[in-house]
Symmetry: C2
Subunit: 274 residues, 2 copies
């Protein structure tokens, strides 16, 4: 007799560099397609995961979520280990656990955290070539931090949404938006008498928490903050750009490779972990 | 008439994952071979660089050094930009400058800095898959830090040298050896009721500065500190392991991918930057 079905929640980390995004495509390698394949190979069942966030090509994740139903006898918490044996090194399951049969990770997201990483220095660093955006010109961190304030709170973010997205509302709530810069310490310029006065540049992290994000919203926020950092947009102008609802006034969509889905929190009342 | 020859010093950063090490090999892709090709294509001359440190396959660098001679009219400080146009993304020249015609980066190294990186947590992180060693079991940082002390100073490091290396002496001086651990903050476990009590693990960096290192010496030091962290070697035993001169008593050679040549300092009296 068949085992009763159970629903498993996976926490999925991946380097998106080698993938055409999360969503399944018949003729391209995607995160979702790769997970489905590994699950079918592991269980012998035809399994299709349902993800919380359909990240774009080149975007990374530390904690995307996906659920699937299975009749397998494998204990829920063992799926992470069993799947990691079958997955490529650039996708690693971080956690697996059983959830209620009606649990869906898209239905009740209480908070998402994204980070956008910028390597800001004279020359790129090879190790960051697919996980950070490179920016040559020194960025004004204080101006970027000042510009962050206008984003926080509940706003209509129509100006920060790529065209073609079908959504009921473009109102979203941003809980926090922060810009942090850490100087690179050593190791790239061996001589004291170098051209750059010992300046090895800085790693800039834009970190945003919100109740949800429109299509390309975080990348357009990052692109706008980059324009502020370069002095092309004054930080005081950002409030008006948001109010305009005009995509043309915001900055460009920053490249995908700098973006990382860090964490998704599920509402307490639907967190029916069995 | 031909331009007079000049000697150029390059500071070279690379992700070594895709290379069979630094040293030229006729039938394998190496950092040195790739640099020679780019220089020949750029200048039209048959150029062979001479490197400061022949890193092994899979080892990374932020600041390796290389010199070459050229009759090119390209200004010394423009070579970095011109070469980066022709190099793959995993090799990036960080600096180029003219040096005295008899300057050689191997002749007078005053200090080298290496780092060894360990991702110490329940599951690997995809972004570190080729730039850090993964260790599942929680490592005892305090014990590793205690073990560091025995290495500092001038010692015969025969016990920390792979067989087959031809060197005049196995005496080297370590200026400092430090172990630092930074906890991973968020993003890998979305639910508060997870199995791991919210522990997302730690990124461990072993940083060593010395006047020179024997073949595999840093990786054997890292491998020994890993054994200390696991409780297999007590920190007090390290002094005796060094004194024994017996390779069999030290830990295993830690995997190449965790190792990074951070910086090479050149003696002041030979730093004849033109």
């Amino acid at each position: 007799m068949e085992n009763p079905a159970k629903r498993i929640l996976l926490t999925v980390a991946y380097d998106g560099s080698g993938y055409h995004g999360w969503q399944y495509q018949p003729n391209a390698i995607t995160i979702e397609g790769t997970l489905n394949q590994a699950l079918c190979a592991l269980t012998g069942e035809k399994i299709q995961v349902a993800g919380a966030s359909r990240t774009d090509a080149g975007v990374h994740a530390l904690g995307n979520l996906a659920v699937f139903d299975t009749h397998s006898q494998i204990p829920a918490e063992k799926f992470s280990y069993a799947l990691n044996q079958r997955l490529p090194e650039d996708i690693v399951i971080q956690d697996s656990q059983e959830v209620a049969p009606d649990f869906h990770p898209r239905r009740c997201v209480s908070r998402k955290i994204y980070e956008y990483t910028i390597v800001n220095r004279r020359f790129p660093l090879p190790e960051y070539r697919s996980t950070a955006h490179f920016e040559y010109g020194r960025l004004d961190i204080a101006a970027m931090q000042k510009a962050c304030r206008a984003f926080v709170g509940e706003h209509d973010f129509a100006a920060f949404c790529s065209a073609g997205a079908q959504v009921q509302t473009t109102v979203r709530k941003i809980y926090s938006l922060e810009v942090a810069a850490i100087p690179f310490q050593t190791g790239t310029l061996p001589l004291q008498e170098d051209n750059s006065n010992g300046d090895r540049g800085q790693k800039i992290t834009i970190r945003v928490q919100g109740n949800g994000f429109l299509y390309n919203m975080v990348r357009i926020i990052a692109g706008t903050l980059l324009e502020v950092g370069k002095g092309h947009i004054p930080p005081e102008a950002v409030e008006g750009i948001i109010a305009s609802g005009d995509r043309g006034q915001a900055g460009p969509t920053a490249p995908a490779k700098g973006l990382r889905l860090v964490e998704i929190d599920i509402c307490n009342n639907t967190r029916d972990i069995l």
